[in-house]
């Protein structure tokens, strides 16, 4: 089926070239980072994880979000989603590849990465994160590819795929749970030390992932003769609506616990993010923007009138994607490190090279996503002929 990826029109190749150029620029900056060290980023002794790890965390969510089309179709036999499950699975593949790349560019000694398998350490959550992420990647490649190929050949997919499909559902939950455990099990980091971190990650994932999927569906309908379907998009929109509501609810739970208990260790990070602490407040406008975007997203997706208007729905999805990205991709990591364990504030601001490399990784992910979606859509066009 790979040949379908190279049979495209001018627009397709233009878009691919555009992405490839960004990947190339990002790669060149990465070579600079490889030569100099992570000192070209804004990271410091106090904030030792930043933009890369934050984007990694967000994208694990997008990857897990793919399960929101797989689960209703295979578990509840919701037939309408049969049309779009492949899009969810392919979105997961592209997202996990971005995740792994973000981890790689974050390493100080990337050429030693195989030490993780050479000296497997079951007590390290990072070890398990590597295991579940790679497992999820392979599951989706195997399932997505075989199901699509079967569809192309006009036959039912192989029987042995069924257990793998069922396995992929809890596996999707596991990737974001384990990713949350990276943070919430660390003593002395009050912002992350909350049992609700994994559920919170999942709720934002199930909003951001399907939101991106809706946008992809709308684009696919425009650029190809395959229509993912109005019912499918509306069902996804309802999932997004519930998930974003739950996400904001979980966040408010955090705020209540931190401020009613009045424990400084838990309040300080939220204060730093939302009102500034000891005169430092680089993230204040961003965090409020995120909160407002998520509220707007709730209004637009919950109210049936706006949700049913696909133009408005597209805007709502953009708003929700941005809101959850700022929340997780910007505030979650920097906020957890500030103030530091010695209660000092050294603000972390991502540097330009750091942002450049991150953009390169995103572009690479979208390049892979475009190729995969191109294949999927071509097969669908072929089959419906």
């Amino acid at each position: 089926m790979l040949e379908l990826a190279i049979k495209g029109g001018k627009k397709y190749y233009g878009w691919m070239t555009f992405l490839a150029v960004i990947v190339g620029i990002g790669f060149l900056i990465y070579l600079k980072q490889l030569d100099f060290g992570l000192g070209i980023t804004g990271l410091s002794r106090d904030t030792s994880w930043g933009f890369y790890i934050a984007n990694f965390t967000f994208l694990v969510g997008v990857a897990a979000g793919g399960v929101m089309v797989v689960l209703p179709y295979y578990l509840h036999d919701y037939k309408a989603f049969g049309k779009v499950t492949i899009l969810g699975e392919f979105l997961a593949i592209a997202s996990v590849i971005m995740c792994v790349t973000f981890i790689l560019v974050d390493l100080g000694q990337p050429m030693r990465v195989l030490n993780v398998f050479l000296y497997p350490t079951p007590n390290s959550v990072l070890f398990w994160d590597t295991v579940v992420l790679n497992g999820y990647l392979f599951l989706n490649i195997i399932i997505g590819w075989n199901v699509l190929e079967a569809e192309r050949n006009g036959v039912h997919y192989q029987k042995w795929l069924k257990p793998l499909i069922y396995l992929s559902i809890p596996w999707a939950i596991s990737i974001h749970t384990v990713t949350a455990y990276l943070y919430c099990g660390l003593p002395g980091r009050g912002f992350w030390m909350t049992a609700i971190l994994a559920p919170r990650f999942l709720s934002s994932a199930f909003a951001a992932g399907p939101a991106l999927l809706i946008l992809c569906c709308l684009i696919i309908r425009r650029v190809s003769s395959f229509d993912p379907g109005r019912e499918q998009i509306q069902s996804l929109a309802k999932i997004v609506a519930y998930a974003i509501c739950v996400n904001v609810f979980f966040f408010l739970c955090e705020v209540f616990v931190a401020f009613y208990s009045n424990i400084p260790e838990h309040m300080d990070h939220l204060k730093y993010l939302f009102v500034g602490l000891h005169g430092h407040g680089a993230y204040v406008p961003w965090m409020w923007a995120s909160f407002i975007l998520m509220i707007i997203g709730i209004i637009l997706t919950v109210v049936p009138h706006t949700r049913k208007n696909e133009g408005v729905l597209a805007a709502a999805c953009v708003v929700i994607f941005l809101g959850t990205w700022i929340d997780k991709g910007l505030g979650m990591i920097a906020g957890g490190f500030t103030p530091s364990p010695l209660h000092e504030i050294n603000e972390y601001i991502p540097s330009l090279p750091e942002i450049g490399i991150a953009l390169g990784v995103w572009a690479m992910g979208f390049l892979i996503l475009t190729v995969l979606f191109k294949i999927a859509v071509s097969v669908k066009e072929e089959v419906r002929g």
Binding site: G108, Q109, N115, V125, G188
Partner: protein
Amino acid sequence: MDSSRRRILQLLGVSALALTTKPVFNAFAKEAVSAEAESVIKAGAQALKAKQWAMVIDTRKFKSEADLQPLVEACHRIHNVPRLQNKRHEIKWIWGTRYHNAFPGKAAQFVAESVEHRPFLVLCNHCENPPCVRACPTKATFKRESDGIVLMDFHRCIGCRFCMAACPFGARSFNYRDPRPFIAETNKEFPTRMKGVVEKCNFCAERLAVGRLPACVEASRGALSFGDLYDSESKVRKLIKTNYTIRRKQTLGTEPSVYYIV
């Protein structure tokens, strides 16, 4: 044509898989014979030994930041700790800070004046339950069973910095760039580090191995004491017995091995 190409690809895949299993079989094959041939690291005749090394810092003996300087100097000089101008890239194994920074949970609004102005020496606590060791995905940082020191293998560290996030004491530093040009005078008896790895205080494991106390203890003129926490006759135990001591963030359950007399 098409099916034969597929067949060849399948064969190639299976052969590649077969090749990768060879190291696994090798590992099993080695296990059986090498039990007695395994190399042993012998302790030196003068080596100092303990079940869990611990330190007691008598903070009353330090009046100003200047009093700490010789200790910090001694440590950073012999361990090839670079002096970097950019604060973000800073590397430190042991340093002085204020009471409310060393003990953020214990800082009251009103504190004894002497305590408020006194400098507090902070370093790796060589915890009995080190969260950094729990977090490391490659065992590059580990707790040495023989004496409880939390050590680093600079050659195994992949630079993921999970240990830095896990440490509640901010004791770890990362080499954000090549540190070697920033070492004033290289001590040939201790390794320098490369960019991209984490480092921290090692309780002078290399000195204990040849019967010498840690450099900071030696330079402290009696303000710092060092000994075995599980030897009731040791100097640190006697000090803990006769003085009221506190530890940093004790409530986190990491069991720090550095005690402070305030």
